[in-house]
């Protein structure tokens, strides 16, 4: 419990610190409503993918989902090609939007179920399985689109999701927030959530305890896939066009977000709220550096620094180590030779 709240507090503090630095650097414009809306509209894509990776990681046994962004692009590309073959984005705006949205999420779900079945039934290591499906999804998207960008168009409903605000917040961000809340609730209050974490902690014990291993794994990867489908829908809504290689850098960023959020790579522990805050922190930092007009290579450096800081804080009582003289409880701090584990 102690460690959990520590990670959460750290993330909140980092976010606040980034906002303060941003305000100082930009002379205030960083804190403008428009910039908040702009940054909020950028978070959902990576945030949804990161929650998917978190779930896969929590399942333990080296769980990870590398196919996220490829599946998101596939769902966007495939839906765009199929739906526009029988519906026109300009004539039947609402019908087009609804069909398109349903189809992106549906394709995401199917892709996720395929991952889950391969991992649970054929016992393929998740990292290899999702690496394979990632390439398969991307390849399929290339074949379907011929390697070119596919125009979705901006039918009324869909373009609102990508561009409009509700209560001053971008609709895409609201969708992300609601989904995150739902998944957090599922993890906390349903048997599935308990099973997932326990199975991640000790897969062998879980099997002997009679947990529905296949069901849990398929459900986990199916949720992850569905989130990818949603990400694909939001990408299409924002950008008007979809392409197979969009966001190729998201794969590693999603994992970075998850690790920064304190999700245990060996499984069994992870909190949605931390993932959301961690995604927001990365967004704040990259926007901050763009505001400061700095090279994007500095951004990579800063992300790496942030990640290392988090890992260090999670593993050792670095905070105490940094301020050996100001610390009020001497006992917890000044012992550089043997850093004390934080819990």
């Amino acid at each position: 419990m102690h460690k959990t709240s520590e990670q959460l507090i750290m993330l909140v503090v980092i976010n606040v610190a980034l906002l303060v630095v941003g305000a100082v650097i930009s002379g205030g414009t960083f804190l403008s409503l428009f910039n908040f809306q702009s940054m909020a509209s950028q978070v959902p894509e990576i945030g949804l993918l990161a929650i998917g990776v978190m779930l896969a990681m929590c399942a333990g046994n080296g769980g990870i989902d590398l196919s996220g962004i490829a599946l998101a692009n596939l769902s966007g590309v495939l839906s765009a090609v199929i739906v526009s073959s029988f519906l026109s984005a300009t004539d039947n705006e609402t019908a087009f939007s609804l069909t398109f949205m349903a189809m992106t999420v549906g394709i995401g779900l199917v892709g996720g179920v395929i991952n889950g079945l391969l991992i649970s039934k054929l016992n393929i290591t998740p990292i290899l399985c999702t690496l394979g499906t990632q390439m398969a999804f991307m390849g399929l998207a290339v074949v379907v689109s011929g390697g070119k960008a596919v125009t979705v168009g901006s039918p009324d409903l869909l373009s609102r999701i990508g561009n409009d605000m509700l209560l001053g917040l971008p609709i895409g961000f609201l969708i992300f927030a609601v989904i995150a809340a739902v998944i957090a609730a599922v993890l906390k209050f349903t048997p599935y959530g308990l099973w997932l974490m326990l199975m991640g902690t000790n897969p062998k014990a879980a099997v002997y305890a009679g947990f529905p291993r296949t069901g849990i794994l398929v459900a986990t990867y199916a949720i992850s896939g569905t989130l990818s489908g949603l990400a694909g829908m939001i990408i299409a809504a924002r950008n008007v066009n979809v392409k197979y290689d969009y966001g190729s850098s998201y794969l590693l960023i999603a994992i970075l977000v998850v690790v920064m959020a304190g999700v245990k790579p060996e499984g069994g522990y992870g909190r949605v709220i931390c993932v959301v805050l961690s995604a927001i922190a990365l967004q704040l930092m990259s926007s901050l550096l763009n505001f400061g007009g700095l090279s994007n290579f500095v951004r990579d450096f800063a992300w790496g620094l942030l990640l290392l800081t988090f890992l260090a804080v999670g593993r050792y009582d670095v905070a105490g180590f940094l301020v050996p003289f100001k610390g009020q409880h001497k006992s917890s701090g000044p012992s550089p030779q043997a850093p004390k584990p934080s819990n």
Binding site: H2, M10, V21, N239, L322
Partner: protein
């Protein structure tokens, strides 16, 4: 618990201070800001463009000209940069799109907010006020072929390479080249439109095949940036430097050795430095609400008499005469 959070606070403050240190560039917001966004930063082509932006800034102290770009070749990363710049409130964007289709929506939102949008290398971009192209694609293809024909003495077998059959500009270049070659009845086109996929090694293998199949071939016209290197190496290794003519798109620095040995007759390119300056010049004109007219001088070498046409969308297409053909004698003037 209380001490822990206090310590965390201090640790976080340290991180924040570190970042504030790296992000120390403060911006003067009084002058109009023209932000150039390139496909990817840190590669020679766009480093060269940056020298143009820097030069433009020096010559025009009444604006702030900056260049940025993603660290990885990903359209999504470029999109984020553009979006952040829009939120920051720059006055003009000069974008070299990684993928014109992906950024259409964001550019539209930028223009809705009153930001001037100029693009380059994207004559199919719809949401832009002006797309600046270095040259007319047909003119470029014709010029390459004219140089080739001159070297071949207007006769003999020749062939063409394109990056891929889906590459629109490359097909325009070789198409114009073929049209030009028709003026010389003794020039015979064999096995045209070989795909190189911009891979110097694959092009080298392909060129060796062609040299075996047509031992009497006299000329190559290539399109993608690495093609001259592959074909040039094949010619060089066959000991045919100077006997076979090779004209194509390439950059001076990588091509230097093969130009010296005579394996490459001439390379054609446009200077990204000048393109960067031209984009900024157009952006400044649009910011000052001045018209860009046909035949206008942008004050940049190679863009002294631009052609203005209607673009793919509402905006205009500005075509310069910035093509450069360089051979052994002249390539040293453009080392990049």
């Amino acid at each position: 618990m209380k001490t822990a959070s206090k310590h965390i606070l201090i640790a976080a403050a340290t991180v924040a201070a570190l970042m504030a240190g790296t992000a120390g560039t403060l911006m003067a917001q009084q002058k109009p800001v023209i932000a150039t966004v390139v496909k990817i930063s840190g590669i020679p082509w766009f480093d060269r463009m940056n020298t143009g932006v820097v030069a433009y800034q020096k010559a025009n102290p009444d604006v702030v000209a900056t260049q940025s770009g993603p660290a990885t070749a990903d359209a999504a990363q470029q999109l984020q940069i553009i979006q952040d710049l829009v939120a920051k409130g720059v006055n003009a964007l000069a974008v070299v799109p990684m993928d014109p289709a992906v950024i259409e929506g964001t550019l539209k939102r930028a223009m809705d907010r009153g930001i001037v949008v100029v693009t380059h290398e994207a004559d199919n971009q719809k949401n832009t006020q002006a797309d600046v192209e270095a040259f007319d694609n047909a003119d470029y293809g014709t010029a390459l072929n004219a140089r080739l024909a001159e070297c071949m003495g207007n006769k003999g077998k020749w062939t063409t390479f394109v990056g891929s059959l889906g590459s629109r500009t490359h097909l325009q270049w070789v198409g114009a080249g073929e049209a030009n070659a028709k003026k010389h009845p003794d020039m015979q086109l064999v096995d045209p439109n070989n795909e190189s996929f911009d891979d110097a090694n694959a092009t080298y293998e392909k060129a060796k095949e062609i040299l075996r199949k047509h031992p009497d071939i006299k000329g190559f016209q290539t399109s993608a940036g690495n093609d001259v290197l592959g074909v040039g190496r094949a010619i060089d290794e066959a000991g045919l430097s100077g006997k076979i003519c090779l004209v194509g798109t390439g950059l001076p620095n990588p091509s230097a050795d093969l130009l010296e040995s005579g394996a490459i007759t001439a390379i054609g390119f446009w200077d990204p430095q000048k393109a960067g300056m031209a984009m900024n010049a157009v952006a400044k004109l649009l910011l000052e609400k001045k018209p860009v007219t046909d035949g206008m001088d942008l004050g940049v070498e190679g863009y002294s008499k631009v052609t203005v046409k209607k673009g793919a969308g509402e905006g205009m297409l500005i075509v310069g005469n910035g093509m450069v053909l360089a051979d052994k004698a002249t390539y040293k003037q453009h080392m990049f």
